[in-house]
């Protein structure tokens, strides 16, 4: 059994085609080969979508839309850059479009803390940094509250924050991905950090545990 699995994996590694080969095949009319690209990068695409949205169904939908856009625009792909970089730019733009589409009044974070929210905030305020890092891994509230904090930002600011902090993209890369000027990216990054810090300070000072 194990031997058969190992052989299968070995055979697959021999026959695995590179991204460029798969793309060339798709462009030549073998559209079924795009499924291989989808399977290859699906996890990475979903991971980036999860930085933007907490809802799993939304994440799946946006991943699908990203792959559809990639498929329809595949002829515009140039092999100078890695396929995943090109795909990430598409995902970032799809998520940004969705943020703009559902733009709404920023929710009042301080107004409605549940008991678990308050417990998490109490821990952030009082525990040591090591304890906070340990507790955050298991805390669902930590994740939800972070998403709500990001929801208070404008779509541009949120996109810049995610690309810069999570994806560790440079200012010039973000400018290229989003089609903005570098000055705009810098301004957005500065404003996003400032408003996040203010909002976080406001939450910590009025955390409702007292």
């Amino acid at each position: 059994m194990l031997r058969a699995l190992a052989k299968k994996r070995f055979d697959r590694s021999l026959t695995a085609r590179s991204d460029d080969e798969l793309i060339a095949a798709v462009l030549a009319g073998e559209t079924g080969e795009f499924a291989e690209l989808t399977a290859r990068y699906r996890d990475k695409v979903e991971r980036l979508c999860k930085r933007f949205f907490a809802d799993n169904e939304m994440v799946r939908d946006l991943s699908q839309e990203s792959f559809i856009r990639a498929f329809t625009g595949l002829s515009s792909y140039r092999a100078e850059m890695p396929f995943i970089g090109w795909l990430r730019a598409i995902v970032a733009n799809v998520c940004y479009d969705e943020l703009r589409r559902r733009q709404r009044r920023p929710e009042d974070l301080v107004a409605d803390f549940s008991a678990p929210d308050r417990a998490w905030l109490q821990l952030v305020n009082d525990a040591s940094p090591e304890e906070i890092v340990d507790a955050a891994e298991q805390s669902r509230q930590a994740h939800d509250l972070a998403h709500r904090l990001l929801n208070s930002l404008r779509p541009e600011d949120r996109t810049v924050m995610i690309l810069k902090e999570s994806e560790e993209r440079s200012v010039s890369e973000i400018a290229e991905i989003m089609g903005w000027s570098e000055a705009k990216v810098k301004i957005r990054a500065f404003r996003a950090r400032r408003s996040m810090r203010r909002e976080a300070e406001r939450i910590l000072s009025a955390r409702g545990v007292n």
Binding site: E65, V133, H143, L204
Partner: protein, 174 residues
């Protein structure tokens, strides 16, 4: 470690990707610097999304649906979904639809027999609206419309004939 260096290392501290020695010195710096300690706590509020690996969605026992089965979000509402391959009308659905149609047809037949509807002409004739013919006549001719017409003619002729043979009616002159 300076405050600038310490804050720069927050993401690595959160992701546990820094050496233990550096980690210890950062922790020591945070214990001694109130401002950096506060900055770390504000950082910790957004870090679960920005600096952590997103949580796994499902357990391995629940396989994810293939990508082509995920419902398109934007066009789903505007699209009528036809029966796909494998989706068929089941016999109980056909029976239910047929019995519903029979029931509706029977009710309409029974109701039409019980309350026969009049045709349009009957319904109009049934309306007893009394029309006073007088109200259609002009002010000058009250009883007979022909009389009014002739009197108008006469008066015109009278006007015309007045200049020729004063006082003779038009019919007489003709």
């Amino acid at each position: 470690m300076t405050c600038f260096e310490a804050r720069k290392e927050f993401p690595a501290f959160w992701r546990r990707t820094m050496p233990s020695g550096l980690r210890g010195s950062l922790a020591a710096h945070l214990r001694g610097c109130a401002q950096c300690d506060r900055a770390f706590r504000t950082f910790a509020l957004s870090a679960p999304v920005l600096h952590s690996e997103p949580a796994a969605e499902e357990t391995p026992q629940t396989p994810r649906p293939p990508l082509n089965l995920v419902r398109p979000r934007r066009f789903a509402a505007a699209r009528s979904v036809p029966l796909g391959r494998g989706e068929t009308w089941r016999p109980w659905k056909i029976a239910a639809a047929a019995s519903l149609m029979v029931a509706v047809g029977g009710f309409s037949a029974w109701s039409s027999a019980r309350w026969p509807t009049e045709n349009f002409a009957d319904s109009v004739a049934g309306d007893s609206v009394e029309v006073d013919p007088v109200s259609y006549s002009s002010d000058s001719a009250t009883a007979n419309p022909f009389e009014a017409e002739s009197s108008t003619f006469d008066s015109t002729e009278a006007d015309l004939s007045t200049s020729d043979s004063g006082g003779v009616s038009g019919q007489d002159s003709l």
